[in-house]
């Protein structure tokens, strides 16, 4: 059985869940990307812009659980002001963290509070919750790469 130290609802997670940073209503027209979790129907919309080569105004609207909400909040806190290349590197680092991969001391300090999500390694089903905002962010960045601008999010038909 699991020890309490593996509890996913750490103080940091609960703090961000109760007071999510950079969260606001983002109308669909303004969102650069939208992602959902088919397991539970959770949704997130992300918007951001690039100014002077760095990410600014990374904001989101989320209908999700404590884990996805806290993940979105922490993500926005550490990534605003970073270059797209740094964002991609930190995203890969986050993916490694929740998958239970090795994280060096230096990488830990780069992630800051986000390391709280290391606990998720014991809860494979909830990994998708933690990753949802980051997936939306990757998609949002990709739309900026494309000169035509907006990408459309498509749901499976049926």
């Amino acid at each position: 059985m699991r020890s309490p130290s593996e509890d996913p609802y750490t103080d940091a997670v609960m703090r961000h869940f109760r007071n999510p940073r950079h969260r606001r209503p983002v109308p669909p027209g303004e969102a650069l990307a939208e992602e959902n979790n088919p397991l539970c129907g959770d949704r997130i919309r992300v918007t951001l812009r690039l100014a002077d080569g760095v990410v600014r105004g990374l904001e989101y609207d989320i209908c999700g659980c404590a884990l996805s909400t806290a993940s979105a909040s922490m993500m926005s806190c550490i990534l605003n002001g970073k270059t797209p290349a740094e964002v991609r590197r930190l995203t890969a680092l986050f993916q490694r963290l929740v998958a239970g991969g090795e994280i060096s001391g230096k990488e830990r300090s780069e992630l800051g509070e986000v390391v709280a999500f290391q606990q998720i390694r014991s809860y494979p089903v909830r990994r998708k919750c933690a990753l949802l905002p980051w997936r939306a962010l990757e998609k949002a960045l990709a739309t900026l790469d494309r000169p035509a601008g907006r990408g459309s999010s498509k749901e499976a038909g049926g």
Binding site: C40, D42, L67, G158
Partner: protein
């Protein structure tokens, strides 16, 4: 016997019907309160040892060899068929097809019924369906340009029988419905629905995945054409299930899968189908699963399906009562006839968070969309937390669950 009223409950109502010690899983998880029985149930030692015995003593491929061991394996498989058939009141073992489970049973029915439908026909399902009893029909409708109609539910979570009557027309070729809802626990008045559908000339398909485990089911009394269920939800092994089909209709239908064991004569240019039930059992069957399912059926019969139904109703009723009293909890539906399945939401708290919190308290429940997305959307929710009971649960566990839900709400709603 003394005078009894409808409400009179036995003194031990809500006590376990089966001791936890019969279920080896609880030796390894002694503190676990398992309330996810609508997803799958645990196995009594009697089922596990029957599986073991089958592999140790009577294992060979069935319906093939002429040596003694193969004959014994075949006999065990066919005896399992007889027992499972008897359990659902089916007298003709040719009508009892072993499948992988409910999902395969419905796909078998939908695949084979392809040959009976005509353009312009309608298929009627209900808003209570599990995706398993929706998507195969959607696909059939797409393939053959049929119209899929969905009988609505009332806000209480019951079938709207007036709408059902209206929607059953001479065009309705198939009426497929869940006998017990896996999301709301509603017990659908199956006899009525089947009678109405038959009168309209429709073939009736009953998804009894949640019904056979918790109430007495007799296909003769129901009068249905097809009835399907899964072994794993009734103490049996995974990977075994049943499709009951009326002989008259099974004989008319082409097989759903073809291959070995389901033919009587084969040439290079064609084949003749074997007799029922082999016609619908292509390939090596899950004989061990069937034998294990028969052991599960014996275990359930020893308890008695009437008692199981009363037990489920009692635990479900108590769960609804206790959860309904907690401020902020919305219990979904309040069907007059329901069994031990209760879904609820707490606005502001995500079902997965609540389920995770309950897991921390050693209480296993389900959270999510329950393979019933359209139904949940109709009820105005995206996802729910669901508790579901079985023979090894008791009222004390229901009470602990409700306490833990209250505690969870305090945790997630705390200001700081």
């Amino acid at each position: 016997m003394g005078k009894r009223t409808e409400q009179a409950k036995p003194l031990d109502a809500g006590a376990r019907l089966a001791p936890r010690r019969d279920f080896p899983i609880f030796e390894n998880w002694p503190d676990l309160i398992y309330l996810d029985n609508a997803a799958t149930t645990h196995k009594p030692a009697a089922v596990l040892s029957r599986l073991d015995e089958f592999y140790r003593l009577t294992y060979a491929n069935v319906h093939r060899g002429v040596y003694r061991l193969a004959e014994e394996a075949t006999a065990a498989y066919e005896e399992a068929r007889r027992q499972v058939a008897a359990f659902i009141g089916c007298e003709d073992t040719g009508e009892l097809i072993f499948t992988r489970g409910t999902t395969e049973g419905i796909n078998l029915a939908a695949g084979s019924l392809d040959s009976l439908v005509q353009d312009g026909d309608e298929i009627l399902v209900t808003a209570l369906e599990h995706h398993s009893n929706l998507i195969p029909w959607q696909q059939l409708c797409r393939r053959r340009s049929l119209r899929l109609r969905v009988c609505p539910v009332t806000p209480a979570g019951e079938l709207d029988l007036a709408a059902l009557e209206r929607m059953l027309t001479p065009r309705t070729r198939v009426a497929a419905f869940a006998m017990v809802s896996n999301a709301l626990g509603t017990v659908v008045p199956a006899v009525k629905v089947i009678a109405a559908a038959r009168q309209a000339g429709a073939v009736t398909v009953v998804d009894a995945a949640q019904a056979v485990p918790c109430l007495p089911v007799a296909v003769g009394d129901l009068g249905c054409d097809f009835l399907v269920f899964s072994g794993h939800k009734m103490l049996g092994p995974m990977g075994i299930g049943v499709l009951y089909g009326r002989r008259e209709i099974l004989e008319k239908l082409p097989p759903y899968m073809t291959g070995g064991e389901m033919i009587s004569r084969v040439g290079w240019d064609g084949a003749q189908w074997a007799e029922l039930p082999q016609k619908f059992e292509a390939g090596t069957p899950n004989a061990a699963g069937a034998v294990g399912l028969a052991a599960a059926v014996r275990y359930l019969e020893e308890i008695g399906m009437d008692r199981i139904r009363a037990h489920e109703t009692e635990l479900g009723r108590r769960a609804r009562e206790l959860l309904g009293r907690i401020p902020g909890v919305r219990v979904l539906g309040c069907p007059a006839a329901c069994c031990g399945i209760v879904s609820f939401v707490v606005p502001g708290i995500h079902p997965h968070d609540l389920a995770q919190f309950l897991a921390r308290e050693n209480i296993a429940v389900r959270a999510g969309r329950l393979c019933a997305q359209p139904l949940l959307r109709t009820l105005g929710v995206e996802a729910v937390t669901r508790v579901s009971f079985y023979v090894y649960n008791d009222l004390a566990e229901v009470e602990k669950m409700a306490e833990a839900v209250e505690k969870g709400i305090r945790f997630f709603k705390a200001k700081k």
